[in-house]
Symmetry: C2
Subunit: 470 residues, 2 copies
């Protein structure tokens, strides 16, 4: 049974929207997408205002990614002031640029004014300098200063990701005064889970979680319930490092301070979750030999980002081939060797990539360090030996029967054992070494490990055969 258009339109929007736009597998419903597409084509502003403008920012982001590329700008134009710019923080960079480039700077400036500062910075940081300056110039003074300060911090720093809106009170206030202040003040941040305690120069003294305020009697002074340490994060700290602090200490938000320990903003867990996702994605893509590419990139962009890795692999493949060419005379005599040699090299490559994957991940999560490295290296060598024996015996039997020659079986068994051991050692030592010299092991390990297993595989198998038969 499929729903009719009316069924969908009859269901309540806004709060219940989530059930509306997604199907059971979490993809946007085809019917909804068709209706939005038709509404854009018909310039049906009423429909869009009713059913699209009220979506949650992340749902609107998904929708923008799902509709036809040429309809995206049209949708934003049709929604006008009802378009929630926050949705742009939820889409691919390429799509964000496509939309922002086509919006007049005045409209961006007007929309930016309504955003939280971290979302505003996220959009502004990708613009070219001229556009950014033009937009900033149209903002009110305090807002402009705040955004400029965040934009002055290095890319991917805590200062870039922080929100500059926060609640801060002096230590001598009572809980009652603080609650009264929050009831009166109109310009509070949208959501917050703790308030900060500062001195007159904005130096950070501590923080109080909201539940602590609610548990405490009105006459108690703030300074007597604040924590001193709250893992203040230097604005220059890399966002990945900040994310690790959040994870380790289960933080919901943390104060961001400048070089004089003055409070400049607050980093919140929702931004940190995005950072954690990005970092995990980066490791995965790098291990797969892919750079920072996005699904919306063009053929030329994608090709360009993948060529370097393939070029390096071409060089190492030629290197491995030149090892084979040393044994041309042997292969000419026994063609079976040419048939079997990719098995030895390939199995080594797979075993090496298993060890390497585990090592790279353990390094990324800091589970592998100087204290357990020796034990882990010994374990991997043991695994290499054990699996080498298992698969050496297996392939030895298969090859011996296949080519009716027990000699070939014995030689491939020995070569397999040697290469699995080499794979284990290379799979752990190469990432460890790269990490030690300060290179990201996820980027370069795979090339080196497969080079080792290809060369060792070909050399051990063809070398043993030459020594035995020739």
């Amino acid at each position: 049974m499929t729903e009719t258009e009316e069924d969908i339109l009859d269901r309540p929007v806004a709060e219940e929207v989530q059930a509306d736009i997604y199907d059971d597998e979490g993809y946007i419903r085809h019917e909804f997408l068709t209706m939005v597409g038709a509404a854009i084509a018909d310039r049906d502003v009423l429909f869009l205002r009713q059913h699209v403008a009220k979506l949650h920012e992340s749902e609107l982001g998904h929708l923008i990614e799902a509709i036809q590329p040429d309809q995206r700008v049209a949708l934003v134009r049709l929604l006008g002031d009802d378009f929630d710019m926050t949705a742009l923080t939820e889409v691919d960079e390429a799509i964000r640029m496509q939309i922002v480039d086509q919006m007049p700077n005045e409209q961006i400036a007007a929309a930016i004014g309504d955003l939280d500062s971290d979302d505003a910075v996220y959009i502004l940081e990708d613009l070219d300098d001229d556009d950014r300056e033009e937009i900033l110039a149209q903002l009110p003074f305090t807002e402009r200063v705040r955004l400029r300060r965040a934009l002055d911090y290095p890319e991917s720093s805590a200062g870039r990701r922080m929100q500059t809106e926060f609640v801060a009170v002096p230590p001598f206030w009572t809980v009652g005064q603080t609650i009264d202040y929050m009831r009166e003040e109109e310009e509070l941040p949208e959501n917050f889970t703790q308030i900060f305690v500062i001195d007159p120069t904005f130096k950070l003294l501590g923080a109080v979680k909201l539940d602590a305020i609610l548990r405490t009697k009105r006459q108690v002074k703030i300074e007597s319930i604040m924590h001193e340490t709250n893992h203040p994060i230097p604005a220059e700290m890399d966002q990945e490092e900040a994310a690790q602090l959040f994870e380790q200490y289960d933080l919901l938000s943390a104060a961001v301070v400048d070089e004089n320990d003055r409070l400049v903003g607050v980093l919140t867990i929702d931004d940190v979750v995005d950072v954690i996702q990005e970092e995990a994605e980066e490791d995965l893509l790098r291990l797969g030999g892919v750079g920072d590419e996005e699904l919306s990139d063009s053929v030329a962009e994608t090709s360009r980002s993948r060529v370097p890795w393939l070029a390096v692999n071409l060089v190492t493949a030629i290197l491995a081939a030149s090892v084979i060419s040393l044994f041309e005379a042997t292969i000419e005599q026994i063609v079976a060797l040419a048939v079997l040699m990719p098995i030895v090299a390939g199995m080594g490559g797979n075993a090496g990539s298993q060890t390497m994957t585990v090592t790279v991940r353990a390094l990324a999560t800091r589970n592998l360090d100087i204290h357990n490295a020796v034990r882990v290296v010994r374990r991997e060598a043991g695994v290499g030996l054990l699996n080498g024996m298992i698969f050496g015996v297996l392939i030895g039997i298969v090859a011996g029967f296949w080519f009716h020659d027990p000699n070939i079986g014995g030689i491939i068994a020995a070569a397999m054992l040697i290469n699995m051991m080499a794979a284990a050692i290379a799979g752990i030592l190469i990432p460890l070494l790269l990490d030690r010299i300060g290179t990201d092991p996820a980027v370069a390990s795979a090339v080196f490990v497969t080079t080792v297993t290809d060369i060792t595989g070909f050399f051990s198998f063809l070398g043993l055969a030459t020594w035995w038969f020739m």
Copy 2:
């Protein structure tokens, strides 16, 4: 300059501990580890109480992982009641089991009583049934019932990860009454960011964030400031799905409800961050051909978990080898083919794994769906064609000069182009297909993709050569 032991001991502990136990790279200081090791050997309980018992749970967990395996149980015994069981939720499963197995059930029961229910469940769920029942039997009635209820939900469900402690009030209470209740009540959860609104049967009516309570005047009724929807999570929902809701809607906590919409617990972002990390790790390890292994696993356990994948690869490698054996006669004539054929297969494998990595990740993050699949397949085919031409020409020139034969150059160029195209198509269609039939594409894609690129690589290169030369 290195610090002396006294320098380290002189520094303030507790709040400032973080600066103490880690070095600049985030690893535990060697000096600290040596001192703890010595204290355990000397049974120096005073030192351990002063410098170890006060560590944050995650720091204590790191420390337990870093010390010698035979010292772990000794440390827990020496700390006795001062040992914070929560630290066990931060260590590898194998280490947790090692410690818990050696603790008497009475001590575990006493320690479990102090934990948040989600941490208690995390530890209890891995125990065998007899031990678990014995421990539960020693807990107070209400606690036992709560933990049993959580343990009754399926593994990896929201019900297993939820905390059963929460604050819930009736809708007719005023903000003032609610604040007074929180000031009087002793048994509040440790940290919370919102309170829930329920009817007399515990049916969930809504939620109010703490900042909303603080902004509102005392006489206002709770029902007038609560949100109706707050993305309630069914207790049976898989934790991964729940984590996606948190990410999408930037939740800090969410109500967990049973099949009758009654509030049974609360899921918090700190547990969700762990789930996000686990899921990302799972994808990465599976793509690398590794199962659920941990760094502390033994050689036999590790070998056992890696053998299945290697066995599958052995079969596909033999399959690829049998393709080569079809062309034994050609190779016997032109040994250069044996030298060059791994280059064609290997480059295809790398290009295929690039496409596959991007595809698997896009599927995991739901960025790839029915709406953009056609466009992405077309893009990947374009990238395969472009990169195939680039590397075909390159290897063609190299091989032509290497073996002084432009024919060989032309043949390898054509084979490279064919294989890069095959790699692109296989790299995207295989994960898409596996996803469609309900298999995790991260597990099985790599085998199928390399099988395609090996077979296509050998067949196209040797086949073209046979057709041209023979």
